[in-house]
Protein backbone atom coordinates (compact mmCIF):
# COMPACT_ATOMS: atom_id res chain seq x y z
CA UNK A 1 0.00 0.00 0.00
CA UNK A 2 1.34 3.43 -0.91
CA UNK A 3 1.82 6.06 1.79
CA UNK A 4 -0.79 8.23 0.07
CA UNK A 5 -3.39 5.47 0.33
CA UNK A 6 -2.40 4.71 3.92
CA UNK A 7 -2.84 8.37 4.80
CA UNK A 8 -6.32 8.45 3.26
CA UNK A 9 -7.31 5.30 5.14
CA UNK A 10 -6.10 6.80 8.42
CA UNK A 11 -8.29 9.83 7.74
CA UNK A 12 -11.28 7.62 6.97
CA UNK A 13 -10.82 5.58 10.15
CA UNK A 14 -10.37 8.69 12.33
CA UNK A 15 -13.54 10.13 10.78
CA UNK A 16 -15.59 6.98 11.41
CA UNK A 17 -14.71 7.15 15.12
CA UNK A 18 -15.36 10.92 15.18
CA UNK A 19 -18.76 10.54 13.47
CA UNK A 20 -19.75 7.68 15.77
CA UNK A 21 -18.91 9.83 18.82
CA UNK A 22 -20.71 12.92 17.48
CA UNK A 23 -23.88 10.86 16.89
CA UNK A 24 -23.66 9.20 20.32
CA UNK A 25 -23.16 12.62 21.87
CA UNK A 26 -26.41 13.87 20.30
CA UNK A 27 -24.75 16.81 18.55
CA UNK A 28 -25.76 15.58 15.09
CA UNK A 29 -29.30 16.61 16.09
CA UNK A 30 -30.61 20.03 15.08
CA UNK A 31 -32.50 20.29 18.37
CA UNK A 32 -29.38 19.81 20.50
CA UNK A 33 -27.42 22.49 18.57
CA UNK A 34 -30.27 25.01 18.64
CA UNK A 35 -30.89 24.13 22.31
CA UNK A 36 -27.26 24.98 23.08
CA UNK A 37 -27.41 28.30 21.25
CA UNK A 38 -30.71 29.10 23.04
CA UNK A 39 -28.84 28.27 26.31
CA UNK A 40 -31.42 25.60 27.13
CA UNK A 41 -29.25 22.47 26.75
CA UNK A 42 -25.49 22.52 27.40
CA UNK A 43 -24.60 19.22 25.70
CA UNK A 44 -22.46 20.89 23.03
CA UNK A 45 -20.46 22.96 25.51
CA UNK A 46 -19.96 19.96 27.83
CA UNK A 47 -18.56 17.87 24.97
CA UNK A 48 -16.31 20.63 23.63
CA UNK A 49 -14.91 21.61 27.03
CA UNK A 50 -14.22 17.99 28.02
CA UNK A 51 -12.54 17.38 24.65
CA UNK A 52 -10.40 20.52 25.06
CA UNK A 53 -9.27 19.55 28.59
CA UNK A 54 -8.47 15.95 27.65
CA UNK A 55 -6.88 16.88 24.34
CA UNK A 56 -4.80 19.76 25.69
CA UNK A 57 -3.19 17.81 28.55
CA UNK A 58 -2.51 14.83 26.27
CA UNK A 59 -1.08 16.61 23.25
CA UNK A 60 1.21 18.89 25.27
CA UNK A 61 2.43 15.81 27.20
CA UNK A 62 3.08 13.97 23.92
CA UNK A 63 4.86 17.01 22.52
CA UNK A 64 7.08 17.26 25.61
CA UNK A 65 8.06 13.62 24.94
CA UNK A 66 8.84 14.60 21.29
CA UNK A 67 6.24 12.14 20.03
CA UNK A 68 4.17 14.68 18.09
CA UNK A 69 4.46 18.13 16.57
CA UNK A 70 1.70 20.67 17.14
CA UNK A 71 0.20 22.70 14.28
CA UNK A 72 -1.62 25.62 15.93
CA UNK A 73 -3.52 27.91 13.56
CA UNK A 74 -2.33 31.51 13.42
CA UNK A 75 -5.05 33.61 11.78
CA UNK A 76 -5.53 37.35 12.05
CA UNK A 77 -8.30 38.87 14.20
CA UNK A 78 -9.75 40.23 10.92
CA UNK A 79 -10.26 36.62 9.89
CA UNK A 80 -11.46 34.94 13.06
CA UNK A 81 -13.72 37.67 14.49
CA UNK A 82 -15.88 38.72 11.48
CA UNK A 83 -15.64 35.24 9.94
CA UNK A 84 -16.45 33.68 13.31
CA UNK A 85 -19.48 35.93 13.90
CA UNK A 86 -20.88 35.18 10.42
CA UNK A 87 -20.29 31.49 11.05
CA UNK A 88 -22.15 31.82 14.35
CA UNK A 89 -25.18 33.39 12.67
CA UNK A 90 -25.22 30.59 10.11
CA UNK A 91 -24.71 27.99 12.88
CA UNK A 92 -27.96 29.18 14.53
CA UNK A 93 -29.97 29.43 11.28
CA UNK A 94 -28.76 26.09 9.86
CA UNK A 95 -28.65 24.25 13.20
CA UNK A 96 -25.51 22.30 12.25
CA UNK A 97 -21.81 23.03 11.77
CA UNK A 98 -19.55 21.54 9.04
CA UNK A 99 -18.69 18.41 11.05
CA UNK A 100 -22.08 17.74 12.62
CA UNK A 101 -23.96 18.34 9.36
CA UNK A 102 -22.17 15.34 7.83
CA UNK A 103 -23.10 13.32 10.91
CA UNK A 104 -26.70 14.51 10.54
CA UNK A 105 -26.70 13.24 6.92
CA UNK A 106 -25.50 9.87 8.20
CA UNK A 107 -28.48 9.55 10.54
CA UNK A 108 -30.93 10.41 7.74
CA UNK A 109 -31.50 14.17 8.09
CA UNK A 110 -32.34 15.24 4.54
CA UNK A 111 -32.38 18.97 5.38
CA UNK A 112 -28.65 18.53 6.09
CA UNK A 113 -27.99 16.44 2.97
CA UNK A 114 -29.75 18.68 0.45
CA UNK A 115 -30.11 22.42 1.19
CA UNK A 116 -27.65 22.43 4.11
CA UNK A 117 -24.76 20.81 2.25
CA UNK A 118 -25.52 22.85 -0.89
CA UNK A 119 -25.42 26.02 1.22
CA UNK A 120 -22.04 25.22 2.78
CA UNK A 121 -20.56 24.42 -0.64
CA UNK A 122 -21.96 27.65 -2.13
CA UNK A 123 -20.64 29.64 0.85
CA UNK A 124 -17.19 28.04 0.49
CA UNK A 125 -17.17 28.77 -3.25
CA UNK A 126 -18.20 32.40 -2.68
CA UNK A 127 -15.38 32.73 -0.16
CA UNK A 128 -12.81 31.61 -2.75
CA UNK A 129 -13.80 34.64 -4.86
CA UNK A 130 -13.91 36.96 -1.83
CA UNK A 131 -10.41 35.76 -0.88
CA UNK A 132 -9.09 36.72 -4.32
CA UNK A 133 -9.94 40.38 -3.65
CA UNK A 134 -9.59 40.76 0.10
CA UNK A 135 -6.97 38.26 1.30
CA UNK A 136 -4.30 40.96 1.52
CA UNK A 137 -6.47 43.03 3.83
CA UNK A 138 -7.83 40.35 6.14
CA UNK A 139 -4.52 38.51 6.53
CA UNK A 140 -2.96 41.58 8.16
CA UNK A 141 -2.30 41.73 11.88
CA UNK A 142 -1.52 38.10 12.64
CA UNK A 143 -0.12 37.42 16.10
CA UNK A 144 3.67 37.30 16.38
CA UNK A 145 3.27 33.86 17.96
CA UNK A 146 0.42 31.40 17.36
CA UNK A 147 -0.08 30.18 20.93
CA UNK A 148 -0.63 31.90 24.25
CA UNK A 149 2.39 30.34 26.05
CA UNK A 150 4.67 31.33 23.15
CA UNK A 151 3.24 34.84 23.10
CA UNK A 152 3.71 35.25 26.85
CA UNK A 153 7.02 33.40 26.64
CA UNK A 154 6.27 31.12 29.58
CA UNK A 155 6.17 27.35 30.04
CA UNK A 156 2.96 25.92 28.54
CA UNK A 157 1.98 24.07 31.73
CA UNK A 158 1.72 27.45 33.48
CA UNK A 159 -1.12 28.20 31.04
CA UNK A 160 -2.60 24.70 30.83
CA UNK A 161 -3.21 24.27 34.57
CA UNK A 162 -5.14 27.54 35.04
CA UNK A 163 -7.08 26.95 31.78
CA UNK A 164 -8.04 23.44 32.94
CA UNK A 165 -9.08 24.86 36.35
CA UNK A 166 -11.27 27.51 34.69
CA UNK A 167 -12.86 25.02 32.26
CA UNK A 168 -13.62 22.53 35.06
CA UNK A 169 -15.17 25.39 37.07
CA UNK A 170 -17.40 26.22 34.08
CA UNK A 171 -18.54 22.58 33.91
CA UNK A 172 -19.26 22.53 37.65
CA UNK A 173 -21.30 25.75 37.37
CA UNK A 174 -23.28 24.29 34.44
CA UNK A 175 -24.05 21.16 36.49
CA UNK A 176 -24.90 23.14 39.65
CA UNK A 177 -27.41 25.24 37.76
CA UNK A 178 -28.88 22.09 36.29
CA UNK A 179 -28.34 22.62 32.58
Amino acid sequence: MTTKKAKLLKGLFTGIVFGFLLQKGGVTQYNVIVGQLRLADFTVVKIIITAIITGMVGIYFLRDKNLIELSPKNKSPLQVIPGGLLFGIGFAVLGYCPGTIVGAMGQGSLDALLPGLAGILIGSALYANFHQKFSGLINKGKFSQATLPEKLNINHWKIIFPVVAILISVLIIIELYGF
Binding site: G11, Y30, N31, M56, V80, L121, F143
Partner: protein, 169 residues
Protein backbone atom coordinates in the same frame (compact mmCIF):
# COMPACT_ATOMS: atom_id res chain seq x y z
CA UNK B 1 -22.03 -4.82 23.10
CA UNK B 2 -25.01 -3.10 24.68
CA UNK B 3 -23.23 0.26 25.06
CA UNK B 4 -22.99 0.71 21.27
CA UNK B 5 -26.77 0.33 21.00
CA UNK B 6 -27.49 3.12 23.47
CA UNK B 7 -29.05 6.18 21.86
CA UNK B 8 -27.02 8.72 23.80
CA UNK B 9 -23.80 8.68 25.80
CA UNK B 10 -22.83 11.09 28.56
CA UNK B 11 -21.37 14.27 27.01
CA UNK B 12 -18.37 13.87 29.33
CA UNK B 13 -17.60 10.41 27.96
CA UNK B 14 -18.02 11.65 24.39
CA UNK B 15 -15.85 14.72 25.07
CA UNK B 16 -13.15 12.61 26.72
CA UNK B 17 -13.17 10.17 23.78
CA UNK B 18 -12.91 13.03 21.26
CA UNK B 19 -9.95 14.34 23.28
CA UNK B 20 -8.27 10.92 23.10
CA UNK B 21 -9.08 10.76 19.37
CA UNK B 22 -7.21 14.05 18.94
CA UNK B 23 -4.10 12.52 20.58
CA UNK B 24 -4.33 9.55 18.23
CA UNK B 25 -4.85 11.82 15.24
CA UNK B 26 -1.63 13.69 16.04
CA UNK B 27 0.22 10.43 16.75
CA UNK B 28 -0.99 8.38 13.80
CA UNK B 29 -1.72 10.95 11.07
CA UNK B 30 0.34 13.95 12.32
CA UNK B 31 -2.82 16.03 11.84
CA UNK B 32 -5.35 17.92 13.95
CA UNK B 33 -9.07 17.14 13.64
CA UNK B 34 -10.88 19.56 11.33
CA UNK B 35 -13.54 19.51 8.62
CA UNK B 36 -14.28 22.80 6.87
CA UNK B 37 -11.31 22.84 4.45
CA UNK B 38 -12.85 19.78 2.78
CA UNK B 39 -15.92 21.80 1.80
CA UNK B 40 -13.63 24.38 0.16
CA UNK B 41 -11.85 21.60 -1.76
CA UNK B 42 -15.18 20.04 -2.78
CA UNK B 43 -16.48 23.41 -4.01
CA UNK B 44 -13.36 23.61 -6.16
CA UNK B 45 -13.90 20.08 -7.54
CA UNK B 46 -17.45 20.99 -8.59
CA UNK B 47 -16.47 24.36 -10.08
CA UNK B 48 -13.59 22.73 -11.99
CA UNK B 49 -16.17 20.78 -14.02
CA UNK B 50 -17.89 23.98 -15.17
CA UNK B 51 -15.11 26.55 -15.26
CA UNK B 52 -11.62 25.01 -14.97
CA UNK B 53 -9.85 28.24 -16.03
CA UNK B 54 -11.40 30.20 -13.16
CA UNK B 55 -10.48 27.53 -10.60
CA UNK B 56 -6.88 27.62 -11.81
CA UNK B 57 -6.91 31.39 -11.49
CA UNK B 58 -8.28 31.63 -7.96
CA UNK B 59 -5.46 31.73 -5.39
CA UNK B 60 -7.68 30.05 -2.84
CA UNK B 61 -7.79 26.84 -4.88
CA UNK B 62 -4.02 26.96 -5.31
CA UNK B 63 -3.72 26.93 -1.53
CA UNK B 64 -6.54 24.40 -1.03
CA UNK B 65 -6.27 22.30 -4.17
CA UNK B 66 -9.50 20.64 -5.31
CA UNK B 67 -8.54 17.07 -4.40
CA UNK B 68 -9.33 14.31 -1.94
CA UNK B 69 -6.94 14.41 1.01
CA UNK B 70 -6.70 13.05 4.59
CA UNK B 71 -9.31 15.46 5.94
CA UNK B 72 -11.74 14.84 3.07
CA UNK B 73 -11.66 11.14 3.97
CA UNK B 74 -12.19 12.09 7.61
CA UNK B 75 -15.36 13.95 6.63
CA UNK B 76 -16.55 10.90 4.65
CA UNK B 77 -15.78 8.85 7.75
CA UNK B 78 -18.00 11.09 9.91
CA UNK B 79 -20.91 10.19 7.63
CA UNK B 80 -20.19 6.46 7.93
CA UNK B 81 -19.55 6.58 11.69
CA UNK B 82 -22.74 8.47 12.39
CA UNK B 83 -24.70 6.10 10.13
CA UNK B 84 -23.34 3.08 12.04
CA UNK B 85 -24.13 4.68 15.41
CA UNK B 86 -27.67 5.62 14.35
CA UNK B 87 -28.28 2.13 12.91
CA UNK B 88 -27.12 0.45 16.11
CA UNK B 89 -29.37 2.61 18.30
CA UNK B 90 -32.33 2.51 15.92
CA UNK B 91 -32.25 6.30 15.49
CA UNK B 92 -31.69 6.26 11.73
CA UNK B 93 -34.69 7.92 10.13
CA UNK B 94 -35.15 9.81 6.87
CA UNK B 95 -36.62 13.19 7.71
CA UNK B 96 -36.60 16.67 6.24
CA UNK B 97 -38.11 18.76 9.06
CA UNK B 98 -36.01 18.35 12.21
CA UNK B 99 -37.71 17.39 15.48
CA UNK B 100 -37.36 20.38 17.80
CA UNK B 101 -38.45 22.05 21.04
CA UNK B 102 -38.10 25.42 19.29
CA UNK B 103 -40.73 25.33 16.53
CA UNK B 104 -40.61 28.10 13.95
CA UNK B 105 -41.39 28.63 10.29
CA UNK B 106 -37.64 28.10 9.81
CA UNK B 107 -37.81 24.45 10.90
CA UNK B 108 -41.46 23.30 10.71
CA UNK B 109 -42.35 24.55 7.22
CA UNK B 110 -40.92 22.82 4.14
CA UNK B 111 -40.02 26.02 2.25
CA UNK B 112 -38.93 27.67 5.48
CA UNK B 113 -36.51 24.83 6.15
CA UNK B 114 -35.14 24.92 2.59
CA UNK B 115 -34.47 28.63 3.12
CA UNK B 116 -32.97 28.31 6.63
CA UNK B 117 -30.72 25.36 5.73
CA UNK B 118 -29.55 26.91 2.45
CA UNK B 119 -29.04 30.44 3.77
CA UNK B 120 -27.59 29.24 7.10
CA UNK B 121 -25.33 26.87 5.17
CA UNK B 122 -24.02 29.68 2.97
CA UNK B 123 -23.13 31.71 6.07
CA UNK B 124 -21.53 28.67 7.75
CA UNK B 125 -19.43 27.87 4.66
CA UNK B 126 -18.41 31.46 4.01
CA UNK B 127 -17.79 32.21 7.70
CA UNK B 128 -15.79 29.04 8.34
CA UNK B 129 -13.49 29.73 5.41
CA UNK B 130 -13.13 33.41 6.37
CA UNK B 131 -12.26 32.41 9.94
CA UNK B 132 -9.94 29.68 8.66
CA UNK B 133 -11.68 26.88 10.54
CA UNK B 134 -14.90 25.72 12.18
CA UNK B 135 -16.15 24.26 15.44
CA UNK B 136 -13.73 21.33 15.13
CA UNK B 137 -10.63 22.95 13.60
CA UNK B 138 -10.72 26.09 15.76
CA UNK B 139 -13.23 25.14 18.48
CA UNK B 140 -11.66 21.85 19.53
CA UNK B 141 -8.25 21.37 17.84
CA UNK B 142 -7.12 24.99 17.89
CA UNK B 143 -8.23 25.79 21.43
CA UNK B 144 -6.56 22.66 22.85
CA UNK B 145 -3.27 23.76 21.25
CA UNK B 146 -3.79 27.14 22.99
CA UNK B 147 -3.88 29.00 19.67
CA UNK B 148 -4.84 32.61 20.40
CA UNK B 149 -6.74 33.04 17.14
CA UNK B 150 -8.65 29.78 17.68
CA UNK B 151 -9.90 30.96 21.09
CA UNK B 152 -11.04 34.22 19.47
CA UNK B 153 -12.76 32.22 16.72
CA UNK B 154 -14.52 29.89 19.17
CA UNK B 155 -15.80 32.84 21.23
CA UNK B 156 -17.02 34.54 18.02
CA UNK B 157 -18.82 31.36 16.83
CA UNK B 158 -20.81 31.07 20.05
CA UNK B 159 -21.38 34.80 20.46
CA UNK B 160 -22.85 35.06 16.94
CA UNK B 161 -24.77 31.81 17.38
CA UNK B 162 -26.27 32.55 20.79
CA UNK B 163 -27.39 36.08 19.88
CA UNK B 164 -28.95 34.86 16.62
CA UNK B 165 -30.70 31.87 18.21
CA UNK B 166 -32.14 33.99 21.02
CA UNK B 167 -33.48 36.45 18.42
CA UNK B 168 -34.93 34.12 15.79
CA UNK B 169 -36.47 31.18 17.70
Amino acid sequence: MEIFRQSQWSPYIVGFAIGVLSWLSFLISRKALGTSTSFARTSGMIRKKYNPELVLELKYYQKYTPEIDWQWMLVLGIFIGSFISAQLSGQFELSFLPATDFPSVLNQNFLGRIFSALFGGILVGFGARWAGGCTSGHGISGTMQLSISSWLAAISFFLGGIITALLIY
